[in-house]
Symmetry: none
Subunit: 197 residues, 4 copies
DNA sequence: CCTTAAGCGAGACGGTACGTCAGGTCTTGGC
DNA sequence: GCCAAGACCTGACGTACCGTCTCGCTTAAGG
């Protein structure tokens, strides 16, 4: 018995790959995740359906990749470090709040979360490729704060990030309350009190 | 031209309603949210498709209702109040962690979240009918703690609940880390420190 | 295990059935058998593909049925019987030759033969529903001739029909020679000599 | 603009040509004409698809060629001539009947007829390359019979062959009756009576 | 003898059609 | 008048092949 035969990546058409990713991104923005079909992506990209099925295992994977490609530009990001942790975090959190208020981010980020909930493989990729690098940058800033004595030296940084961000994400996903700069500030203050040295 | 004519709820068949809800619940457990179809629910329930379309606007609504019906039994719940907030919360949080470890809860809760992310109307219903009563019970316990001086009197109780639960939910949904009793305890401790009087 | 579940013929839409048959006939005439697709038939008929698959097992069956429907009008046909077998047969054979010269008959009849060669079930249906009644009418005329002493009383009438028609059909299908009124006459003369009393 | 550039036959790979022809023959036997694809032929032959498209214009042409190649061995055949036309023809016709009963001939011959009906160019090739030589040999025997006074001197030999063979071919293609040695004999007798001197 | 252009295998590509599944609407007959 | 049943049109699924198009690689001809 033979396996489903893997395509040869060396022959892959970069032009098609980009066209698919672009089309996927556009369609998610226009229609929302649920209403995007692989047929529509293929048609918009001017690509045969088989070309999508050859390189991606599912609709979720295509759309996920289209986000991945987007964020690859902002690689190696790092957070501001003025020496004042609270001020720095508030800037970052307020920026996040602002981002979430931008309707252009709405559809893609909800799409991403819908996929991730139902597909462990995508969730793993998400953590590794998207959340991971960003979290690492944030933890770097927190370590700097630990060295400066602004944060408990033994604080579990993953936990710090969760306390800081999870309430914000949840409130946004569930639409269970307003996302205001004040809310961002409150989260920073609460977190710093919780993990004070 | 005539409107789509609303059905008369008085005539509604309770037997069919229950059969649909039961079938929906079973199928979500067996297949996961995405793979459940209205056709399959109707077939399993021994019900005409029209009967579903007559009474529910969408697949999400049916499935949501099937969860609602489940939780209506546990109405009027309240949290333990031994006078020791930390101990009481740890009991509750550890119970939550244990619940999330039960594979029978996996499919339905992920289904619920998938629906809620993409449908504001369902999200509102969720907050009102499911999360609301539970949160109110929790807040009642927190108010008791405020009166006992175990929690800052001016603490925003919604925020307290978010800091307590959102990290847990997010870690579970994203599968970004293990859910242990120790993790539950840590969240309680962090939250109490953050909102200490 | 359950069978593929048969549709209930009582609920069949006559409007759809007719539309499919008409579309099939038209498309075969326009494009030829090989280039007709079920998708195209469905589209032209304004019908869902499933409606075709529900009632017919294959493209061949649809197209065959579309011919069947056509010929049902000429049911109960009978051949001229002037008492002069040779003259009567020449009229009929010349008419057949003329029919084959009509380009509008070209595509459908070739289509029919293509199907029949490859599909025993269709071949059986063809013999029973299309060829059978026509052949019976012809044999009726031949029996009359036998009674009149113009044909050997013990002649195998199926064989007579084959000798009369098979050369004509083959010449036309293989395009191996011209179909002229003279050719029609020659076949009649040869056949009558072969089966003379 | 440049023409599609014709390949240089001198460079043609004989090994590939044979492999394609063999694969085509095998696949037609196994699957029947309709289910054979060019992809499958190429794969079975271990040949690139382009190699097929380079040398043959259509699936029909490949398969036709594969039959041609087969029959090239039996070139220059001739019929028995014992002086007794009836006996000689019965031997030949009974042999043909036997051939048609062999299931190994089933698929290829039906395939050949399917092609020929729909493609005038292939039909012409068929007459010239396959049917022609065989018919010529048969006509040679008939001419010998004419000289011996066993057949009308002015008989149209093409017509004789049609009367002799077309009923047999048609009965086989349409499966409209049994092919027995008696049937073969009957056809010979009828034909000889029809074209008696 | 060595280049060089052709044929070759492989297989990705943009497409069309396949046959299936489900969506949501509509109709029929039974209760 | 709701209900079970299920046919209908629609649209997407994932697959099979179409015929075209590169890729490197042999391989035979001609300079």
């Amino acid at each position: 018995m033979s396996q489903p035969r893997k395509p040869n990546p060396a022959r892959r058409s970069e032009r098609s790959r980009q066209a698919v990713l672009d089309a996927a991104r556009d369609l998610v923005s226009e229609l929302g995740y649920a209403k995007v079909s692989i047929e529509a992506i293929a048609a918009r990209a001017g690509v045969g359906k088989q070309t999508i099925y050859r390189w991606w295992p599912s609709k979720g994977a295509v759309i996920f990749d289209s986000f991945l490609a987007l964020s690859e530009s902002e690689e190696g990001m790092s957070l501001p470090d003025t020496g004042d942790l609270e001020a720095d975090l508030k800037i970052v959190m307020r920026a996040t709040v602002a981002e979430f208020a931008d309707p252009a981010f709405e559809a893609p980020i909800r799409a991403l979360n819908t996929e991730i909930i139902g597909d462990p493989a995508l969730a793993a990729q998400y953590r590794e490729k998207l959340a991971g690098p960003v979290d690492e940058a944030k933890k770097e800033r927190l370590r700097s704060a630990q060295r400066a004595g602004q944060l408990a030296a033994d604080a579990d940084l993953d936990l710090v990030l969760e306390v800081l961000y999870a309430p914000l994400y949840q409130r946004w996903l569930h639409r269970s309350g307003p996302l205001t700069p004040q809310y961002a500030d409150a989260l920073v203050e609460i977190t710093l009190r919780a993990f004070a040295p």
